[in-house]
């Protein structure tokens, strides 16, 4: 009974992504980093932006904050003019969440990042680049699958996107057989576009299936 209550209350968390803005955010973030990678690839060999330190500083000190603030504005605009007038306004706080659950989430995220960062190195060490690539691809498909499981249960068609993402990555692995980091760009581009397309489709579906109430309704 209390589990049913908890599940019901979780609807409010899923509501945050009812318009697909969460997926679009993920897509735009990944896309920006992929485009940065492509840009670095066409720069001259002696350009300072090809060095790891300069590119890291640019990515984390400039690109990431610009993306975060820029998208915060876009997301708020979508919410203000599309979502809130149609299905209502919600402000989230720390309600119902204890501090240890936030710390646990942070620790799990750190462990996942460290494991993922080292998969490449381990795979190179054991001459198993294809294994490293498979783990990397599986991680990305799993990340999307978890997202729709917890944030977008109301859209069963997204299960098809999980399958399409897996098949697409598999196809790219055949077309671009090398397994080093540079050859991952087409995969990441595909992943970014999948997230973005999923978000745009969710927004389109949301707009089609909802209408703002008449002005005198409240």
């Amino acid at each position: 009974m209390t589990d049913t209550l908890q599940n019901y209350a979780r609807r409010t968390r899923r509501y945050d992504n009812i318009d697909g803005t969460g997926e679009m955010y993920m897509g735009i973030m990944v896309l920006a980093f992929v485009l940065l990678g492509y840009l670095q690839a066409i720069l001259p060999e002696n350009s300072m932006w090809r060095y790891r330190f300069a590119s890291l500083v640019f990515a984390y000190a400039v690109l990431l904050p610009v993306l975060a603030f820029g998208y915060w504005g876009v997301r708020r605009t979508i919410k203000k003019y599309i979502t809130w007038p149609r299905t209502g306004y919600v402000a989230y706080g720390h309600c119902g969440k204890s501090w240890w659950s936030n710390i646990a989430a942070l620790v799990i995220a750190l462990v996942v990042v460290v494991v993922c960062a080292n998969v490449e190195r381990l795979a190179r060490h054991f001459h198993a680049m294809s294994l490293g690539r498979a783990v990397w691809m599986a991680f990305n498909v799993a990340a999307y699958a978890f997202w729709i499981l917890f944030k977008s249960k109301e859209h069963p068609w997204k299960r098809l996107i999980v399958v399409l993402m897996a098949l697409g990555l598999f196809a790219i692995a055949f077309i671009v057989p090398r397994g080093d980091f540079d050859s991952r760009r087409p995969e990441m581009l595909f992943i970014a576009l999948t997230w973005l397309a999923s978000g745009v489709a969710t927004l389109y579906s949301y707009i089609r299936h909802t209408q703002p109430p008449a002005p005198e309704s409240e």
């Binding site: 009974m1 209350a9 209502g88 919600v90 402000a91 309600c95």
Partner: protein, 98 residues
């Protein structure tokens, strides 16, 4: 068995009503929301929702604030501290009962 019966009899009747339980469960998960959101999520009509909210406000569980979003009137709703405590106790009571 006696303890279970007592737990059932001690359940908060204001929250126990299904419509109000839905409202309180939703409000407990957010900082604040508006009337339209509750209407969308509970699928209740305006009259029903208003009367349940009035009952919850009367019990001191919900705070209702009439405001404007631009030129559009907006009714903001949030659970009070007493409301949160009552909901936590209700959940514990329900667990003990079953």
């Amino acid at each position: 068995m006696k303890e279970q019966l007592r737990a059932i009899s001690e359940l908060d009747r204001v929250i126990h009503e299904p419509g109000r339980l839905m409202i309180v469960a939703l409000l407990a998960a957010v900082k604040e929301c508006d009337f339209l959101f509750l209407q969308h999520e509970t699928e209740m009509n305006k009259g029903n929702l208003s009367s349940h909210l009035a009952r919850l406000e009367e019990a001191g569980y919900v705070e209702i604030e009439k405001t404007y979003r631009g030129k559009v009137p907006q009714t903001l709703l949030r659970l009070t501290r007493a409301g949160r405590t009552a909901f936590d106790q209700y959940r514990k009571g329900l667990k003990a009962a079953f």
